[in-house]
Subunit: 260 residues, 4 copies
Amino acid sequence: MLDVQKDMPAVAMAIDRVGVRKVKMPLWLKDRTNERQHTVALADLTVDLPSSFKGTHMSRFVEALETWEGKISYRAVRDLLTSIRERLEASSAQVVFSFPYFVRKKAPVSGVEGTMSYDCVLTGELDASLKPRFSLEITVPVMTVCPCSKAISDEGAHSQRTLIHMLLRTDGFSWLEDFIDIAEASGSSPVYTVLKREDEKYVTEHAFAQPCFVEDVVRNVASRLLEHPHVCGFRVQVESMESIHNHNAIAVIEHNYEHR
Amino acid sequence: MLDVQKDMPAVAMAIDRVGVRKVKMPLWLKDRTNERQHTVALADLTVDLPSSFKGTHMSRFVEALETWEGKISYRAVRDLLTSIRERLEASSAQVVFSFPYFVRKKAPVSGVEGTMSYDCVLTGELDASLKPRFSLEITVPVMTVCPCSKAISDEGAHSQRTLIHMLLRTDGFSWLEDFIDIAEASGSSPVYTVLKREDEKYVTEHAFAQPCFVEDVVRNVASRLLEHPHVCGFRVQVESMESIHNHNAIAVIEHNYEHR
Amino acid sequence: MLDVQKDMPAVAMAIDRVGVRKVKMPLWLKDRTNERQHTVALADLTVDLPSSFKGTHMSRFVEALETWEGKISYRAVRDLLTSIRERLEASSAQVVFSFPYFVRKKAPVSGVEGTMSYDCVLTGELDASLKPRFSLEITVPVMTVCPCSKAISDEGAHSQRTLIHMLLRTDGFSWLEDFIDIAEASGSSPVYTVLKREDEKYVTEHAFAQPCFVEDVVRNVASRLLEHPHVCGFRVQVESMESIHNHNAIAVIEHNYEHR
Amino acid sequence: MLDVQKDMPAVAMAIDRVGVRKVKMPLWLKDRTNERQHTVALADLTVDLPSSFKGTHMSRFVEALETWEGKISYRAVRDLLTSIRERLEASSAQVVFSFPYFVRKKAPVSGVEGTMSYDCVLTGELDASLKPRFSLEITVPVMTVCPCSKAISDEGAHSQRTLIHMLLRTDGFSWLEDFIDIAEASGSSPVYTVLKREDEKYVTEHAFAQPCFVEDVVRNVASRLLEHPHVCGFRVQVESMESIHNHNAIAVIEHNYEHR
């Protein structure tokens, strides 16, 4: 049978990245409490392609996934990168997994437990150096109370749900929970899945005692990430769903952050 | 050239609705201040198909759009329905336009003006009775302050952006602005595009003086719609982006509302 | 501590549905091969509220989820509905779970296996009759080859990915796989996650031998659902991402279908 | 009234970008046929903030929009950037407008006209050098016919809608239509809003005579952009909604492209 992919292309130009996008699949990982956690991921898998080949062999990406252990960890993702690089006879390989990560969290007063979900993205790359590089994205919702509204009003202050998005380049292992903790300590209050009345009173009062702008939140997160031993670069974006507007407020700090 | 669409189908079954979806196009309309307003809509256009035809002629839907005046009004949409029904030789026709509607709005104290945007959907249907039927959807963002949080906390109360979605079956003309006014009067406060500091103080204090649950908001809207002379049925859904949770709260009231 | 929710509301109107939306959580279920399958769901949980109460107790919904076994099955969802109805002291309860469902599928010639993902929604309701009612939504992607394009062209025919969305009211247990099979047999060809070259040849030729319009697909699905012993009503929508247009084609057949 | 924004922040760190997101508004522009075209945009407006200020003054962004002429052109956007930079007393300003752009397009044989819509993003930046920098994103749908499927099958070949996304850094004025033309010439066929039967025959045969992988498309676009006099850097991504799979195929080429 013809192998059109091996033909010479009409335009002899190298391609930076070619592959499959949005393959949905069940995966698992271990969390900080050492529990095995099941989740569902969207996977993007790509390689580079030299100027001498017309096409890549797309089915081999999914075959690499199928023979893989299906675990989200630095070691397992490195194994997948190695397998893709070899099967596709490529110089560099990249995988991106987008998935929700679940953490059990206690309400602050009653101690009632609930499951929180955080959207995460793990990106791994492997090139001819055979030294894998990883980056991590985590989105953490928090509550913010507006300092201006509080200072100028006789009563109250507007508050809202605010999303902290961290893009992290790391040079060693850290639990996702470590970064979630950093983000949840950086707004007016964490948010929770279950809050009894005594918890709601606590969260409200605690948040009103610590009003913060998106500017404050992004600085709080950035200053904590600067002190983290395994973070070598980051982009932090804070987006607040302003309750007095129909648009959002955002603030961004980048540090030693090379876009890809 | 063959006209496969006119063949007998393998399965002789009538089709309720067949046509095109998500045709994006510029449209215009008149607002309450009698200004000509330009917007962009997604259009879905469908007809029924008897059991004796294999297919409809999809290109005729877009041809009907092309010869149409491109105005969102009851009369113009009725003309489009008539044109589609005739071109497609159908018994019934339906059009759905989804578009943002813009309203100039003054900040409550400074009077500074800004443009607010409201997502709207106009659905029109025409069957053999030749009497068109219309329904209207409008989504209005408001601010809600939680009455429970306010009552139990020593200071403050959580607030959030809350979306009021009204699906209305009407038997006469009304301005979109009338329904927007109803929704904006039914939460703790309207939201605005521009607020100077004196406005933010007013909005905060005003909202805290009128705390309401999603349950209060949905009842406020429903009771006002019941009194509206041209509303004969409705479904109101209120969804609040709770600032203390990562999930939302909702409340729904339906009245004389026939789903389609 | 005050219980504001038990206050009399300002507007004494019953609320059809009030509760929480978009709670993300890990769940599991059993598939036709009797394997335990892990997935992730978005949950909406609601009850009705009489005109005499200002608000419902939102935290009890999540507490009901937390003490539940977390399994998607008719029996387990009925247990959850019973628990919600009791905890919230409500007359009726509704739960909606949206989740991907995974099925192992063999390529048609090589037999290579891959994981397919299908978006599903299970809705359960329980009212004072204590007899639960269920409905099921499944979205199945297939390939369609255009019969008109094939008949009039000297070579080829445009094809595209087409989504079959089935909303089913059932009166007995059926495997999700049964409905997926019905949908995959109703287009020009099923789609696959892994296809080797010999499979791609087979799928192309098989699809070109069975060209079908969205009208054909919706009739094929509807006629098969009419013969299913446990389907008592349905709405089938077929949406094709036409490769020659930037808009989609759709066809809808409803049968004994009561909207809610 | 207090101006909390001017306070010293707790963490003295400069912020790269702070402002408002997703302000929806009507805008207009001129197209290549010199027609005035109305559209609707989502606007993101940001500035930098030195380490010595706690917050920026968010309302001034919307005030800048309100006094602006509301036209999408290099000159008008430069004026807006200048106004934002001054009002916010900032060193650098950035605006991002996302909007659909409409082009009238004739069917290839019948000559029937229809309106095509292309999603565009214009980003403008102005820093202390007072020399604005612009980048442009355009997404163009085309049809692709698979060369492998065609070569190995006795009949037919799978085809699909494919999205070409171009991110362009330019150093002079070009019409959006120039880039749309480049993209539409780079797949198996352009797509159209209206096609009569004779057009559908032409498009099918034309596309089957020019089968191409995503790899071919991305190289075709990249080689043409390299020859464009005003393009100094780009990222081209081609994503094909494979009709035989439920996932997509992608290919990316970057050239002299500095991410931001």
